[in-house]
Symmetry: C2
Subunit: 135 residues, 2 copies
């Protein structure tokens, strides 16, 4: 695979109440800030927010499907959560290559997730190894 | 809430094929290393492995349900992935308090995920803020 520094890929989705409920079910994280409107309304957020781990799973999607794509394996990740993702938000995850190894299938990326207003929800760094497999 | 350095909480679950399929569906990450036995068999792993983001969602579960529990919000996370989680593995996620603020509801934790053989799959650090809400 050929890469360039600055090369990027994105994916966008709307986050529905069903997404949040499903993520709670599969992860087992039933924190009421995600699941209970009455609880969430008393927090600084004012209403239910998506799990941070769900928001960053969109970065996993970009890595696994697009850049570097099938066969990719995240070796390390580091995320900072700046603003909440609300139900109904449309969020875009982006991965950008910062550097890469020429002797190994390994890329070092920066990543971010923004909402429909351009507000930055998450920033981070992800190192991704990948195997090229003849299928 | 009162905390102590060294205080910890864990959760354990078996990872099923259905879990991996569901996580792929909800995240949209259909990387064949997770989804296609024929592809995965040609990688260094030899068979399908769970998404790293699914494995670390177990840490989100411990934070949201147990330590510090309901109302918790992850501010930052940093994970290193050392070994894969295979379908059928029984994994345990653990959060341990490294330090905490006395003036703010904020704990700094180390975390790990191990499998049924005690093999370490993931290590990391997570900073967690929490709101106490009268429900």
């Amino acid at each position: 695979m050929d890469f360039e520094v600055g090369q990027s890929a994105t994916t966008t989705r709307m986050v529905t109440e069903e997404d949040v409920n499903e993520f709670a079910r599969i992860s087992g994280d039933t924190n009421p800030v995600h699941m209970e409107e009455s609880f969430a309304s008393k927090t600084r957020f004012g209403r239910r927010i998506a799990h941070g781990a769900f928001v960053t799973s969109l970065i996993s999607k970009v890595a696994g499907n697009q850049l570097p794509g099938p066969g990719s394996i995240v070796l390390s990740s580091s995320f900072s959560f700046h603003s909440p993702c609300y139900i109904g938000d449309t969020i875009t995850a982006k991965i950008t290559i910062k550097r890469y190894r020429k002797d190994k299938p390994l890329i070092f990326t920066s990543c971010e997730v923004v909402n429909q207003d351009g507000e930055c929800l998450v920033t981070g760094d992800v190192a991704i190894y990948f195997e090229k497999v003849d299928s």
